[in-house]
């Protein structure tokens, strides 16, 4: 092979020739999981320097720290001070999750549209749907970290406050499934909704405002309708606010007494919150897939 000097802007480089690649080609599943991992890193802006990571990390801390304080309080006051419970945790810090989704969904969905890098993905070893699902799952998984961690900290607080750890663990272990269910539902609903809304604009600031605006407006509209509508329809109006749905779902899976629950009540079954949550997930995913059928080519 002859050495051919290639003139570049930075000087002369001796090109040692082109090497063909004959290693493994791992295909679609690998491409999708790589994109998922890349998305997860992008949500927390890992590897982008401290400045870029500041907002996601501060919001993550805001989502988790109340649980840590509660766990400490449980330990020091022997369970007397209980501001945060498993079922009311989400509702009390719901705005943190709304901010987190609004801040990070545009990074996943809008950026590739703005830079038009989307077409480079679509020209590779994955389908449109794969791209969308990898991105959405990256946000869902990120939100799941933020929703499951504080509940697990509360759980640990209950267990560690006791002297007989094993007995306390067994006594508390029936809460693990509800913890998993409620934090997953939270992550799925918020993650898919935020991604769906953000995917409709390539402008990140607009996307962030739209996601946050949606969460705020849906709450307001739901409250107004609940107050103004009379008759049988009124019990359905709270389902317009995804946070009400998630709060109701949490109360239901943790078996909160309907007498003290702000969502459950006589004649209000918790199943409706589970169904409503899944409907949100399905609708948001369908909107995403429709959106991505139209763009990128």
């Amino acid at each position: 092979m002859t050495l051919e000097p290639a003139r570049t802007e930075t000087g002369t480089i001796y090109d040692i020739g082109y090497q063909h690649y004959d290693g493994p080609r791992l295909g679609r599943g690998y491409a999708v999981s790589s994109l998922f991992g890349h998305g997860l890193m992008a949500v927390f802006a890992l590897g982008r320097g401290l400045k870029a990571s500041l907002i996601p990390l501060v919001l993550a801390a805001a989502a988790i720290l109340p649980a840590a304080f509660q766990a400490l309080a449980t330990a020091y006051t022997d369970g007397q001070v209980e501001l945060f419970t498993y079922s009311n945790y989400f509702i009390n810090v719901s705005m943190v999750f709304a901010f987190f989704c609004a801040a990070r969904a545009p990074e996943l969905m809008s950026t590739d549209q703005r830079t038009k890098a989307l077409v480079l993905y679509l020209a590779r070893a994955l389908h449109r749907e794969d791209y969308v699902l990898a991105k959405v799952l990256a946000l869902v998984a990120s939100v799941l970290i933020l929703t499951a961690t504080p509940l697990l900290i509360l759980f640990a607080g209950h267990v560690l406050a006791s002297t007989d750890l094993w007995a306390a663990f067994l006594a508390e272990s029936h809460e693990l499934l509800p913890i998993f269910l409620s934090s997953s539902m939270m992550a799925l609903v918020l993650g898919t909704l935020a991604c769906a809304i953000a995917s409709f604009t390539p402008r990140r600031s607009l996307a962030a405002a739209a996601v946050l605006g949606y969460f705020m407006l849906s709450r307001g509209i739901s409250e107004i309708l609940t107050d103004s509508i009379r008759g049988m329809w009124v019990v359905w109006m709270d389902l317009l606010d995804p946070f009400d749905v998630l709060g109701g779902f949490a109360d239901w899976v943790f078996g909160t007494d309907p007498a003290i629950s702000q969502y459950l009540g006589p004649g209000v079954s918790g199943v409706r919150f589970a169904v409503a949550g899944l409907v949100y997930v399905v609708l948001a995913t369908a909107a995403l897939l429709l959106r991505y059928k139209k763009i990128g080519t």
């Binding site: 003139r7 082109y18 290693g23 295909g27 491409a31 830079t115 020209a123």
Partner: protein, 318 residues
């Protein structure tokens, strides 16, 4: 193996625009130029070959595979350079191309290694860890070429790779494309609205216009010598023309201050032009057999120049 083929390929966009119309193609591996004015259907053809668009009629095959039914298999074997900007700004070229290589199925270690290798190939080795927001248009264009090559494709689809480049950057890009095709054994389909570029790097030409195939043939056919002599004199053009007329040669004005003289088999025209210029004492500055111009190809189609758009006019000055 056959590189590309198309049969009655038709693409009608939902809005009703007919982008491709009954396109038939058979192409062997090599460096292929795809020319046509803006809107002729070049990008549409490339996207169908990538499996990104589903044709509304007909079929195509790329490396023996049908892109509308086996898009992933096709895309693993081809590299694509889009015509528009498509690079993120806040990551380094090395990280971005590594990521793209993984999207084509290369394991992390190989992806990293090949990304560095491709960036060296396009002359960006030193700049590879800088974020791309500081890159010039020429550098960005070369990153786009590197990402198209990183998974070692058998075919490159380059959509207007010289768009927006200055003359030096244009030369560099064309040289890179030529080397990729000639030395690496990778087939290239390069689209351009500038015929001169195609002429410089390609050995086969496809010309499309209004979504229809105008011609597909080896480039030599388009640029073969013609039986016409181009004659230029500093002054006295009309006198020379009259002289040649009397000598029995029907010279034509070429419209640019020169004459076109038919060259007969006996080669008499050379001598006559020389004698005429000598006798009239005119300074003869050009006496040359003309080559067929790629432009003629489009003009010949239906009398008027259907694709004499800005692109082609600019090329004549180059």
């Amino acid at each position: 193996m056959q590189l590309l083929s198309a049969e009655q390929l038709t693409m009608r966009y939902p809005g009703g625009v007919l982008a491709l119309q009954d396109l038939d193609l058979e192409l062997e591996p090599g460096l292929i130029g795809l020319v046509g004015a803006n809107g002729a259907g070049k990008s549409t053809l490339i996207k169908i070959l990538l499996g990104l668009l589903r044709p509304t009629g007909g079929s195509s095959r790329v490396l023996g595979l049908d892109p509308s039914t086996q898009p992933i298999e096709v895309r693993q074997r081809i590299g694509y350079l889009p015509e528009h900007d498509c690079l993120p700004t806040d990551v380094s070229a090395a990280d971005f191309i590594t990521h793209m290589a993984r999207m084509s199925g290369l394991p992390q270690a190989s992806a990293r290694e090949r990304a560095a290798e491709m960036l060296r190939h396009v002359g960006l080795y030193e700049a590879r860890y800088r974020t791309m927001d500081g890159y010039s248009t020429g550098m960005k264009q070369r990153v786009k070429l590197a990402q198209a090559l990183v998974h070692d494709p058998q075919l490159l689809l380059l959509d207007e790779p010289t768009n927006g480049l200055d003359p030096a950057g244009r030369d560099q890009m064309l040289e890179l494309i030529r080397r990729t095709g000639r030395q690496f054994g990778i087939s290239v389909l390069v689209s351009s609205h500038l015929l001169g570029e195609i002429e410089r790097v390609c050995d086969h030409l496809i010309a499309i216009d209004g979504g229809r195939l105008v011609r597909s043939a080896a480039i030599g056919i388009f640029t073969a010598q013609t039986a016409v002599l181009a004659v230029q004199v500093d002054h006295g053009l009309d006198e020379l023309r009259g002289w040649l007329d009397r000598a029995g040669l029907a010279a034509e004005d070429d419209g640019r201050g020169g004459l076109l003289v038919p060259l007969e088999a006996d080669g008499r025209a050379y001598d006559l032009v020389r004698d005429g210029a000598f006798e009239l004492e005119l300074p003869l500055v050009r006496l040359q057999r003309t080559r067929r111009q790629l432009q003629d190809l489009f003009r010949a189609v239906d009398g008027e120049p259907p694709v004499a758009s800005a692109g082609f006019v600019a090329q004549e000055d180059a």
